[in-house]
Amino acid sequence: MVKVNVKFSVMFKDATGTTATTIDVSGETVKDLIDALIKQFGPKFGERILDEKTGGVRRFINIFVNGKDIRNLQGSDTKLEEGADVRLIPAVAGGKEFFGLTQDQIVRYSRQIILREVGGKGQKKLMRSSVLIVGAGGLGSPASLYLTAAGIGKIGIIDSDRVDLSNLQRQILHTNDDIDRPKIESAKEKLQKINPEVKIITHNERFAVENALDIVGDWDFVLDGSDNFPTKFLINDACVLKRVPFSHGGVLRFVGMTTTILPGKGPCYRCLTPEAPPTGMIPTCQEAGVLGAVPGVIGAIQATETIKYLIGSGELLVGRTLFFDALEMRFEEFELKRSPNCPACGDRPLIKDLSQVDYGHVCEVRF
């Protein structure tokens, strides 16, 4: 027989009529205490605290013995000492699940669960989804930050670069302290700090003809955050061949563009631009420059499209190309139709495997 001090949440007050009591327990475990409390306060209290089906303590009720959660002790077999302090509290901020989400997840994602188009169902879809981001630079930074914050289950990042001082003007994942570190390492560290629940997979390698098909095949969606035409065409061709949906994005100076490609359900990037422009025709970023906030806008749109695709809501940028002109501060939209002659997704596609295509020299200039 032990005497213990029990404090209740006001949640139980209607059944107990009090928020604190000192009670004699004939046994010596938490289970014996619960039996004693039910004897004292009656079946209404029992209903409140015990699960109808299992007869055990309800999942949403936390029991603390001398400040420790009994789940971390011996559960209802936890021994009580004379004079022990026991608290019974509903799990408002604990780790137990409520309709498939933990309390932390409910709080973390509450502002998007509230949205009718997302809800708990959409959130759970995001948590089961995987997205590959090619490039942890100007587009990949904002995109990966928002996708991680939104709770995508698994995010892959492929980039072989190291952080350079000249990147920091727009690649907001990286900081002064990261200079010379591999970008994927810097990226993973920041993203895990924002949301430790997301699984971040890093590939410290170039996205190239040799690995493109193997890599894209593993993901539900791919986000093109690359900075050069050869990679953009490679992403397109690999995704079209593997039927992986992706978001295309590109920026230069004050302008950006983006479109969403669902292979088999709309045009692809080669329908718009069958071949890469010859070297020298379009200036590189190094020559032309870019305002840092422009990839911020485009990368954020790409993240939005990714989320919409994954939860199946809204109108995607499929068959539409969105142009953003920051100087004029204007968005324009152009229709994009699937071309029957497209070398990637046309009626008789020429590109049947990536080794047939000359992707040319991948430019080293990062933007």
Binding site: S9, V92, S110, I113, R116
Partner: protein, 79 residues
């Protein structure tokens, strides 16, 4: 107070807005169309916010009843 055949009951006393709505929404998503959810709250603003928000999602608010000094019962039918 009308009696309804309640299919799911959640006791979210201790929760405040917006979590009263978020949890009610998670619970109602788990029901089938036409089924009835009962929500017990002890946060006064929730008696307006939860019915309004669930109502705007198309669900039918059947009743909001004060059952104790600081406790309310909200009964909703899933659309």
């Amino acid at each position: 107070m009308a009696e309804y055949k309640v299919d799911r009951k959640i006791d979210i006393r201790g929760e405040v807005c917006p979590y009263t709505f978020v949890k009610s929404k998670l619970a109602i998503e788990d029901l089938k169309s036409g089924q009835i959810l009962e929500v017990i709250v002890d946060h006064a603003p929730a008696t307006e916010n939860v019915p309004r928000s669930l109502g705007s999602e198309g669900h039918k608010v059947l009743e909001v009843v004060k059952i104790d000094e600081h406790e309310w019962r909200i009964v909703i039918q899933k659309a």
